[in-house]
């Protein structure tokens, strides 16, 4: 009975008050707060600007995440962190023009949402001097390399280890017109139709703008609107989006060029192998190419003209004014043991193009400014110029010497890799 009474009493008493939530998370990103600028200067190195020649014994001054000044002698503000790079070479961070699966989780959707800034592959890419990469969602390049499949979101991603801030440089970075190459007649019909409709829409827009300027619009006339399905094609035509075609052999290249010539838009032919057999055509269409120099395909004996791969492809394309980006055999980083075939040695792949007759300046551009242009980010990265992003590498030798290592790598002005402090290569005494 007593028990019953106690139970009744207890039931009448309320639950103890819940504890209010714990301390709220402290930091929210604060809007415009004047922070003191951070200056870093690289002094005494040979500065390979890429676009304006080599400045010997020059200074590169970084302010926060940008290149502030480049010159023979630069006034350094008080508090500048000075880094002595005498005897070394300062280059723009390398741009990897195809890097499926690098620094991202396997997922679908936007690359920005799948990024993994804590991946070891980011650290390894920095050790190879790669600061930006055109990344698509999907698998990596594998142990011994190989061409990746197509599809998935694409973005130009920076190797900002430890933070998502400033990691996406551009998304979407390209649209895939792979269906034009690998699809069937109905796919091609549809693509052609879409381009046609897009062209008509652009024409309508131009007409509308013209008549508006001349005050000849009909009453209540609205600007023309394109159907959502046509929108990507309008962007291609307007140069707002780059289109990529996987185009290994001559047939695929010709097929891609057919579309490019009909509708005139910025196109990138990826993983080109037989481009050297039709360089003028590619040049006339003003299409870009990406290639792995050491891809090998023997000539097809059943074909009358030239076929297969050529280590001279880069040099041949250059002669016809074709712009290209060079990528390593494994389009990702690898620690599998076979050296020189992945993003840890991107300049080496370009050195093979030099073996095939390419000049050193173009070889350098193929992994810096032209690669950036192919990815649509050349206003931000790819050369050492005032105003561009502070993405830099310091090398201990000629970029195309097989013995050269990356000493320092900066992304967005922050030093993210230091060979001497990293366990990767600090113990190596290159056998010169």
């Amino acid at each position: 009975m007593m028990r019953f009474l106690i139970a009744v009493l207890l039931a009448l008493v309320q639950d103890p008050p819940k504890e209010p939530g714990k301390e709220p998370p402290k930091e929210a990103p604060k809007p415009a707060e004047t922070k003191k600028a951070v200056y870093t200067a690289l002094l005494g190195g040979d500065v390979y600007t890429v676009t304006k020649g080599v400045l010997k014994n020059g200074t590169v001054l970084l302010k926060d995440d940008k290149i502030h000044r480049v010159g023979a002698s630069v006034d350094l503000p008080e508090g500048t962190t000075r880094i002595d790079v005498t005897g070394k070479r300062v280059l723009p961070g390398f741009v990897a023009v195809n890097a499926r699966g690098l620094a991202v989780h396997p997922a679908s959707g936007k690359v920005a949402d799948a990024l993994d800034p804590f991946s070891e592959s980011v650290k390894l890419a920095l050790a190879g001097g790669v600061t930006s990469a055109h990344v698509e969602l999907g698998g990596g390049g594998g142990f011994f390399g190989g061409a990746p499949a197509s599809g998935g979101g694409s973005a130009v991603v920076k190797m900002t280890y430890g933070t998502l801030e400033g990691m996406v440089l551009l998304e979407p970075a390209s649209g895939s017109l792979g269906a034009w190459i690998t699809g069937g007649p109905s796919d091609r019909f549809e693509i052609r139709e879409n381009f046609q409709k897009a062209r008509e829409h652009v024409e309508k827009e131009r007409d509308f703008d013209r008549r508006r300027a001349e005050n000849r619009l009909k009453p209540n006339e609205a600007p023309p609107r394109a159907l959502p399905a046509i929108d990507p094609y309008v962007k291609y035509l307007k140069g707002e989006q780059i289109a990529r075609f996987p185009s290994g052999d001559a047939d695929q290249i010709k097929r891609a060029l057919e579309l490019v010539n009909d509708f005139k838009f910025k196109a990138v032919l990826t993983n080109v192998v037989e481009g050297w057999t039709l360089p003028e055509e590619i040049g006339r269409a003003r299409a870009y190419c990406t290639m792995t120099v050491r891809t090998k395909v023997h000539a097809d004996r059943d074909r009358s003209g030239p076929s297969g791969s050529s280590i001279e492809q880069a040099a041949i394309l250059r002669k016809s004014g074709v712009k290209f980006g060079i990528i390593s055999i494994t389009q990702n980083v690898s620690t599998g043991g076979v050296a020189g075939r992945d993003l840890l040695n991107l300049p080496l792949e370009a050195a093979f193009a030099i073996r095939g007759g390419l000049d050193e300046q173009t070889a350098l551009e193929s992994i810096t400014i032209t690669a950036a242009e192919i990815c649509g980010v050349d206003t931000r990265v790819g050369s050492i110029e005032e105003g561009k992003d502070a993405d830099l590498v310091v090398l201990d030798g000629d970029p195309f010497d097989y013995r050269t290592f990356v000493d320092l790598t900066f992304v967005n002005g922050k030093l993210l890799y230091d060979k001497a402090k990293s366990p990767y290569f600090s113990h190596l005494k290159t056998g010169k």
Binding site: R294, K296, P423
Partner: protein
């Protein structure tokens, strides 16, 4: 009597003409890397009858065909002891029995192979074309040239080249059959080696006349005899320190056969001191560094340099083609240098050292008088990947000349 003197006189004259008619090729190169005692600047190499007649600051005889390469480097033809591209890739593994001393690659050679042409254009003149590592003992490999012959026989330098054995990893078939565990593998090898050793002893005794009746002939063991007679070595695909050590113990200590430790990666260099003690050659490739697999300190280690550091003197480099394309043998050497190996060692590692390891150095591997004229001309230091091959000569015959037809297929890989 006078007729005899006349005949002798005519014979002498004819002889003298013939002497003059044997053509001489003279190669002059900006730098001659001999892989021997001395290198030469602006050196000359004289070639006659497919052999090197002279090297260095020599006078070019009149009537010689002169090949001028004033800015080029001349090197011995490159030698790769771990090659699988002599024939078709599907022909290199017969995976029914775990040990196959009766098999060989000799009959599978394809002299027209495009891959061999790529190799020759890449400066590789001699390869040890071996079976794969699908079984514990996959058969005998053939030491062969990459070009310069229309038939299989034309290309062969020596058969047998070497016995191929694979310890660990690849032969560990999980089909539940013989030799799938290390226990099975070691036993299988010992069994065959013991039998082969007894076979060789019995036949040697009979050949010396010590026994009257001939022992029973067993074709499958015939080529094994050369191992015990020191005529050709066994090349063993190994990985990690345990298997490197096991290989050393079995082949050298127990059976006293010339042995080459090939691959030796995944921390295999930890057994390098034992190789050094016994003077066993190490053959490095396709992996040129040990890093995250089997190594646990976050560091990237150059394998070749690690073996050299431990005192291994005969150090050669390979491609394990097609894993790394055969024509990239020199690039493998470049990578070893990048990872710490001295340049000179790296160049020797693709010339004289592999020749020594496979017991063919009396014939090739260096630019020395009397050796076969396997010579390559490069646009500069071969280790710099920006340089390429201008000309390849095998046995005095030009098998590749860029000026005649440049070979542009280069690279690939598995």
């Amino acid at each position: 009597m006078r007729r005899g003197w006349m005949v002798l006189g005519i014979l002498a004259l004819v002889g003298a003409q013939e002497e003059k008619a044997r053509p001489v090729i003279a190669i002059r190169a900006g730098k001659v890397f001999t892989a021997a005692q001395k290198n030469h600047d602006n050196g000359v190499i004289l070639v006659q009858d497919g052999k090197i007649k002279a090297v260095g600051a020599v006078e070019i005889p009149g009537g010689a065909q002169v090949l001028e390469f004033p800015d080029a480097w001349a090197t011995p033809g490159l030698v790769d002891l771990h090659c699988h591209i002599g024939g078709m890739i599907r022909d290199i593994n017969d995976m029914v029995n775990p040990t196959n001393p009766e098999l060989s690659t000799r009959a599978t050679i394809d002299p027209d192979s495009e891959l061999l042409k790529d190799a020759a254009a890449g400066g590789v003149t001699t390869v040890l074309y071996i079976p794969g590592s699908g079984t514990n003992m996959s058969g005998f490999g053939t030491l062969m040239h990459t070009a310069g012959g229309r038939t299989i026989e034309d290309l062969i330098v020596r058969f047998p080249g070497a016995l191929k054995v694979a310890q660990a990893w690849n032969p560990e078939r999980y089909g539940g059959d013989l030799g799938m565990s290390r226990m099975g593998m070691w036993w299988g090898l010992r069994d065959v080696l013991r039998e082969a050793k007894e076979y060789d002893l019995a036949w040697t005794a009979h050949e010396k006349g010590e026994t009257k009746t001939a022992p029973r002939k067993k074709e499958s063991l015939e080529n094994m005899r050369g191992l015990f007679q020191g005529k050709w070595p066994v090349i063993v695909h190994t990985a990690d320190a345990r298997d490197v050590m096991g290989t050393v113990r079995m082949f050298r200590d127990e059976f006293k056969i010339p042995v080459i430790v090939s691959h030796g990666e995944f921390g295999g260099f930890k057994s390098a001191p034992e190789l050094a003690k016994r003077g066993i050659p190490a053959n490095i490739g396709p992996r040129t560094y040990d890093w995250t697999i089997m190594m646990h300190d976050g560091r990237c280690y150059g394998i070749a340099e690690k073996y050299r550091e431990a005192g291994v003197e005969n150090l050669s480099i390979c491609t394990d083609s097609p894993v790394v394309p055969e024509e990239e043998l020199i690039v493998q050497a470049s990578m070893c240098v990048r990872l710490g190996l001295p340049e000179e060692k790296a160049l020797r590692g693709v010339t004289i050292e592999p020749a020594k390891a496979v017991l063919i150095d009396h014939r090739l591997g260096s630019l020395e008088v009397g050796k076969e004229a396997d010579i390559v001309l490069w646009t500069g230091n071969p280790l710099d990947v920006r340089n390429r091959v201008l000309l390849t000569m095998i046995g005095g015959k030009v098998v590749y000349d860029e000026r005649v037809k440049k070979r542009v297929t280069f690279g690939g890989g598995w």
